[in-house]
């Protein structure tokens, strides 16, 4: 099949982060600082991305502000002609650094929210004082005039704070809020007993979002990622594998999505060794699940096959043990009923401790049996 050029690239500048969120989207096997791409290497990747057709660049991590050359990297991205978005917890940003990012041409900031009270936010982030600091960063962002999106990550522990998160977005002057229920990959898979929302919570969140969208029309745009274990159809993961976006990990490994390394039989190219264009068009990992030709039944004959592209490959791997299987979230999957039962059991689990993300190079904690 012929691939079209990608629109978006997620650059995970580093896996280092002061926070330790138990649902971190980084892989469990974190890249070490000494393996991170240099300023010059990232700048070259940004230019190649723009040549390839990427329009939107998301600078993420880890915490991207951990990179001391963040301002230079933003400048390089804008020089390459990319719309440049910073995805941050705010920790590591100062008023001075934000002004330098403004001078470098940063287009937009996404600020993560772990909770709407210091107690909740600091417990989930595993970083004392983080909430207070984040509110200060939000004030600096507003004073400079950066367009802001608040990224609220929700789960069983904090879903009751959703109404307050919406209010906070309006108070901060954010144009958008992403209301994202935790997706269970990597670190979050270790925390399903602690974080899985109940079905009632998931339905309540949908009701709150629907009401708020109508009430806040023209003031706040709400993007919503529902709790997919409780859904009947899977998410349109990445807009279709290898169709619209790519991720570059801190060490230059180029991935079809941030969790793709959880699929053991795939091997991935590195931007240090191959041109990005070759990796996108010719790379085996990108072609593995591109389009619809790879699909088995029930996807192959399904009328939704180009609506959701069979859902999430990494979730199929994690839950069905086969990355080419129909996402078990789908009602047509033979694993669907079992998944819903497991979701109920995770949601009903009591007293499960949070398993925090560790630092690159440090041992990975396991949940208690």
């Amino acid at each position: 099949m012929t691939a079209r050029p990608p629109i978006a690239m997620l650059a995970e500048l580093t896996h280092r982060c002061p926070l330790a969120c138990p649902y971190c989207s980084n892989p469990v096997d974190l890249a070490r600082q000494e393996n991170e791409l240099s300023t010059a290497e990232w700048s070259d990747v940004f230019r190649q991305a723009a040549d390839l057709g990427v329009l939107q660049l998301h600078l993420s991590g880890g915490e991207p502000a951990t990179r001391r050359d963040l301002e230079e990297l933003v400048q390089a991205a804008r020089d390459a002609g990319l719309y440049t978005n910073l995805i941050t917890s705010g920790i590591g940003l100062t008023e001075r650094r934000l002004k330098a990012l403004d001078d470098a041409g940063l287009d937009h900031i996404q600020l993560s929210l772990q909770g709407t009270t210091p107690e909740m936010a600091d417990e989930i982030g595993g970083y004392k004082g983080g909430y207070k600091r984040k509110l200060m960063v939000a004030e600096w962002i507003a004073a400079i005039g950066f367009p802001l999106t608040l990224n609220a990550v929700l789960h069983r522990r904090n879903l009751h704070q959703l109404p307050r998160a919406l209010e906070m977005a309006v108070e901060m002057g954010a144009r958008r809020i992403e209301v994202a229920t935790v997706q269970f990959h990597g670190w979050a898979l270790k925390n399903r007993d602690a974080l899985m929302p109940t079905r009632t919570q998931a339905e309540e969140a949908t009701r709150i979002v629907t009401e708020a969208r109508a009430r806040l029309k023209g003031t706040l745009v709400i993007d919503y990622v529902p709790a997919d274990y409780h859904s009947d159809y899977p998410k349109r993961c990445m807009g279709g594998w290898g169709s619209t976006g790519l991720n570059v990990a801190p060490d230059g490994v180029v991935l079809p999505c941030h969790a793709a390394q959880s699929i053991p039989h795939l091997s991935f190219d590195n931007a240090r060794e191959k041109p990005l264009s070759d990796i996108w068009y010719e790379g085996r990992a990108f072609n593995a699940y591109r389009g619809t030709d790879w699909m088995p039944e029930p996807c192959a004959s399904c009328e939704r096959k180009e609506v959701d592209f069979g859902g999430c490959r990494c979730q199929a791997m994690a839950l069905a043990g086969d990355a080419a299987a129909t996402d078990p979230v789908c009602v047509k999957s033979p694993h669907h009923i079992d998944l819903q039962a497991r979701a109920e059991a995770h949601a009903a689990a009591e007293g499960a401790p949070l398993v925090y993300r560790s630092a690159p190079g440090k041992p990975v904690p396991e949940p208690a049996e």
């Binding site: 057709g53 329009l55 287009d107 996404q110 950066f146 958008r176 023209g218 745009v221």
Partner: protein, 90 residues
């Protein structure tokens, strides 16, 4: 959308020539909108100074078309942009 409204693209929303796909696009937070010739013509006129009435009058003169028609066509497009926070109105 009234003739006295002054529409403007807010910070973080900008027109961009996509050299790979050879088309004008609007870049906004987490969104890319491919623009047809009409949409691009309207958005190119926004300067944060002139009102919607003045802009539709200018487009009517430029394209030799009835102003009422241009106002009717572009009001819907700009209102939808406003709902998505891609457009400020003063």
């Amino acid at each position: 959308m009234s003739p006295a409204d002054i529409p403007a693209l807010p910070r973080g929303v900008r027109l961009h020539w996509d050299r790979v796909r050879e088309t004008w696009v609007l870049l906004a937070p987490e969104r890319t909108v491919t623009l047809d010739a009409v949409a691009h013509a309207i958005l190119s006129e926004l300067d944060g100074i002139r009102s919607f009435g003045e802009i539709t009058a200018a487009l009517a003169a430029k394209y030799n078309a009835p102003q009422e028609q241009i106002a009717a066509d572009s009001a819907g497009f700009l209102s939808a942009m406003h709902d998505r926070r891609f457009l400020d109105l003063r």
